[in-house]
Amino acid sequence: MKQTYDVVVIGGGTFGLFACLTLAASGKTVVLIDRGAIWIEASAVNAGSLAVQNKLPALVPYTLWALDIWRTLQDRLGAQIGLRHTGGYKVALSEDEAQRLEQVAREQEEKGLSVSRLDRQALRTQASWISAEVVAATYSTQDSFASPTRLGPVLRIAVEKAGVHIVEHAEVTGVRARDLCVETTRGPFYGRSIAITSGAWSAQIAAMLGNDLPILLDVNMVSVTEPAPRTIPQIVTHARGVLTLKQVSNGSCLIGGGWQGIGTLADRLKNVDYDQLIHNLRLAARVIPGLAPLNILRSWAGYEGVTPDSLPYLGRLPGHSDIYIAACARGGFTLGPLMGQLLGEFIATGTTSRPIDLFNPGRFTHV
């Protein structure tokens, strides 16, 4: 017998799982389909930064709203998710970078973020673990981080409890708009609506519907050090966006910054590019000299989908009234809870609690 769900959600990362929570809370029947196990792609392997200062100015209000959600999550989900609301420094190593830092800070302030400015001297007194080579920094009390490793299993339990039917190891191979059928390697699923939350693969799903949705691929790398004495109380980001750093609860430091590894969606490789990685690590040790003697225990890479303007897609897929998408935010771990919630609201009620016009999935479609 053919079962029809209110919503078929394709992709069990941050975006998909939070969409499921909102949809289920508004009484919708939902099936969540994933090609592999849920929570194994970008949402599981990211660096866990919840920083506002490294977001595009246009995304600052959304990041602040997302952080409001993050702060409720531990209570809402009833478990630890490694959330540390630490505040964070964004650093500049040259006069050029300092200028850029100041310019972005102003644009972000126009969008509602408040930051304080520190010169070399002030930074030395306030955060002596940061190198004297750092010429200027801005500080935001909002910058935070959380543990992707902890959030995943906790979210899964919440989504299951909410009554969402999770189907794993079912790769979507086709989508039919006519009867809203999602074909998978484990059979067809029918919906009254379809939600594409397939991360970097969202363009592939859109293509099954004849839509050309531009998504570029980043293969971001992250490294983790051995545990070290606790010396880094805040998250650190960089004026040019090339470094993120935090010391997590066991004392290990996570080093990221969007340095590129090797791989494509077609070859499915996610290899570390050591020639690139070395720059990432050298930069980290330049900003925080105390890192230099630490061993790197592991480095890895993951896929992040990026739109041409680095803003997410959120809304109806162009030309389809019942097919929706939420995907590809730079800083999508930070924004995911909000993006998923807004998608859920939009599908369930036709409206959203925050404006989403900026994220129109049709903005690059030229007819």
């Binding site: 630890q80 051995e226 545990p227 070290a228 004495p229 606790r230 609860s249 066991n250 004392g251 003697p293 630490l294 061993n295 225990l297």
Partner: protein, 101 residues
């Protein structure tokens, strides 16, 4: 009682003296710290921060980091893949406090 010894047919290198936790240990040139410690009957080389369990030689090939020890002038190394040398001072890595505990 655990015991390990050099298997027959292996020609040990020159004898070497080093210390682990202040205790004098004999190794041979070319031998790893983990190997020398095992022959001395020392299996657990460090203590885990949260559960206070003992850990030591496990994968034997530098992947798992279970046999981490601290070496003077070098910081943390893997005992399975770091050679002994005369006068080497080997210690348990500084235990971390774990806020989840």
């Amino acid at each position: 009682m655990f015991s390990a010894r050099l298997i027959s047919g292996i020609e040990a290198g020159r004898p070497i003296q080093f210390t682990y936790q202040g205790q004098s240990i004999q190794g041979f040139e070319g031998e790893s710290i983990a190997s020398a410690l095992m022959r001395a009957g020392i299996i657990g080389v460090r203590t885990t921060p949260r559960l206070q369990d003992r850990r030591g030689y496990y994968c034997g090939m530098g992947i798992c980091w279970e046999c981490s020890v601290e070496v003077n002038g070098q910081g943390v190394v893997r005992a399975c893949s770091f050679p002994v040398s005369d006068g080497l001072v080997v210690q348990e890595p500084v235990a971390m406090t774990d806020e989840r505990a």
